[in-house]
Amino acid sequence: MDKVTVTIDGITLEVPSNYTVLQACREAGIDIPTLCYAEVINEIGSCRLCVVEIDGVRNLPASCIYPVQHGMNIRTNTPRVREARRVNLELILSNHDRNCLTCIRNTKCELQDLAERFGIADIEFQGEDVNYPLDDVSPAIVRNPNKCVLCRRCIAECQEVQNVFAIGAVNRGFDTLVSSPFYVSLNDSPCISCGQCITACPTGALYEKDHIQRVYRALADKRKHVVVQTAPAVRVGLGEEFGMPVGSIVTGKMVAALRRLGFEVVFDTDFAADLTIMEEGSELIERLKYGGKLPMITSCSPGWINFCEKYYPDFMENLSTCKSPHMMLGALIKTYYAEKMGWNPEDVYVVSVMPCTAKKVEIERPENMHDGIQDVDAVLTTRELARMIKEAGIDFVNLPDEEFDQPLGMSTGAAVIFGATGGVMEAALRTVSEIVEGKPLDKIDFEEVRGLEGVREATVTVDGLDLKLAIVNGTGNAKKLLDKIRSGEVEYHFIEIMGCPGGCITGGGQPIHHPNEMAEVRKLRAAAIYQADKNLPLRKSHENPAIKQIYEEYLGHPLGEKSHHLLHTQYTSKPLYRVTR
């Protein structure tokens, strides 16, 4: 890359010629304020908080979209720059619903940080009072347009990254709004509840539907046995909410915190991930043997399932019939475990702690009900669990490590890697290879399916058959691959699809970071997941003794009668819009 020389606040440096002024400034150690800017996906130059002064350029350009030029003289801290930034921020604040105290993002808000940084003391402009209704119809996502600063980062995420197009900018001028077409609720839009818009939003305009209150009610109910389970990805995210570095593995502290919050039993969704491998692995073997529908596609990600049902219903038969792991575990807790304990299933309340917002919708799916009972009663995101721990005043960082309860807390390394993209594939390969070949694997790390690229391909030979595999994360990438399959351009046997970019580690319910940091966050959390795998004595699902036990005691065999009833589900094509008018 060619280099150019620029001078920034008197410091001369060389930067690549394709840099923006913003990038050059950051290289020079100057942190230009930004609000709307999100690398690659949202470079629209609309908030104008990043303006700088450049010699020979008449107006103050927005540095986030202004390319550097050789010999450019840039000044970032002149009275004119400071004044312009302040005015722009005050204009944004002037019609903002500034009730920070009662806002979900209080103390974790980019707008607040900017106001503090600019030393905003009072807001000169009296904006017109806006009062839009809250959209809280969706079981997963709440939108409060009154907290929206129109940065459009959510739109970029929903359209460019996820290719869902549930929301966009509508109207013009003062009436501009982020909304679904025809102002319908997100619930009636193509929204797949992935929550990626939440993690992209700088303010409290987007957040998950609260399940904390219903969990508190259940915990206070003497008749209820409240059982909690935690997804693989939560243990590598939760620590961040308590100031621990990204990528900290906090499994033991998390279990301890859940006990202190009053959960009677603490189980691990990882157990059910191992179980999923038994069921899904067997399903794959059957499909391969008896000419079933191929490629088989994984079904653990409800965001992806929603996307498939709405946009690619012709692939529904390709979906594994396995419920997602936490739904399987919920079903077993209310049957197998309740029987063991002599509990009435109606008195059992199952809470799942998940990195995911789509799971809040999944638990209500009619397709998943059996005998009128929900497998899971509440889904807390990683962020919600952190809120509960904070409210309770538990000193999380200094908690001792505790162990999950048994038997549904026993798991292997194959289960924990479900949290990262490629993990389900690798876990399945570890088990399917051994079952089909009838001998132990030489090497259990399938490096070829790891990584963070959006679409990855690999071929693995199992018992003489070259299995063609694809691994996809993010529904935008899923679209690319599925279109190629539709047109017959590519063929596979088995595909893993996760709805969120990076997989569950960066699901819509995980601790929030700025979009520009996400690549790094993904790397660190994924590394933690594979470390957690390495730390475990058992690393193949079929070697999990509790899995063997449950098949012996209760389920019989994979894909058997009981499994079919409790662990498998079906899919229904859904319209993109539910609009009557």
Binding site: Q159, F165, A166, I167, G168, A169, V170, N171, R172, S180, P181, F182, L576, Y577, V579, R581
Partner: protein, 172 residues
């Protein structure tokens, strides 16, 4: 398609589809397509936008964004009586702004909207070419000039009354 046929009749829908078929081949023709739809149907409801989205592959979200961005497109049917109030310079300096406010208040709608009984729709127009009569309002092609806010409201009330007695006459 059923719903569309029901709304606008087979002929009109098929005529539009034929035009759409041609227009969608031209890149960047969304605005022309929407112009066509607006003209043909008088507004661009969900079913029409959905059809355009399906045929062109452009997400509905994007189409709706365009439709709501330009004031010449509408997502609700125009009222039986279409009020165009001139906000051109001549009319504006003679107080058409106040008339607009008064009409909005009286009808309970904003510009670009239609009353819930489907009677009146209100839109702001640029110069209607009758500056000598400023401030001017036009209702279904008929021009009313030299208005005050109160007079504008009186015109509306008169139309309401007339419409009622007409309807009554038809019933008899």
């Amino acid at each position: 398609m059923e719903q569309l046929y029901e709304l606008f009749g087979i002929d009109r829908v098929e005529e539009f589809r034929a035009k759409l078929e041609e227009l969608k081949k031209v890149p960047g023709s969304m605005i022309s397509i929407l112009n066509e739809a607006q003209e043909m149907f008088g507004y661009i409801p969900f079913q029409v936008q959905e059809l355009i989205s399906k045929e062109t592959g452009v997400p509905l979200t994007e189409i709706f964004g365009i439709v709501t961005f330009y004031s010449r497109f509408s997502i609700i049917p125009a009222g039986k009586y279409k009020i165009s109030l001139c906000l051109g310079t001549a009319c504006y300096v003679r107080g058409s702004g106040q008339i607009l406010e008064k009409l909005k208040e009286n009808l309970g709608i904003n510009e670009g909207e239609t009353t819930s009984d489907g009677m009146f729709s209100l839109e702001a127009a640029r110069c209607l070419g009758a500056c000598a009569l400023a401030p001017v309002m036009m209702i279904n092609g008929e021009v009313y000039g030299r208005l005050t806010p109160d007079e504008a409201v009186k015109v509306i009330q008169r139309i309401k009354k007339q419409d009622l007695s007409q309807a009554a006459a038809e019933v008899e």
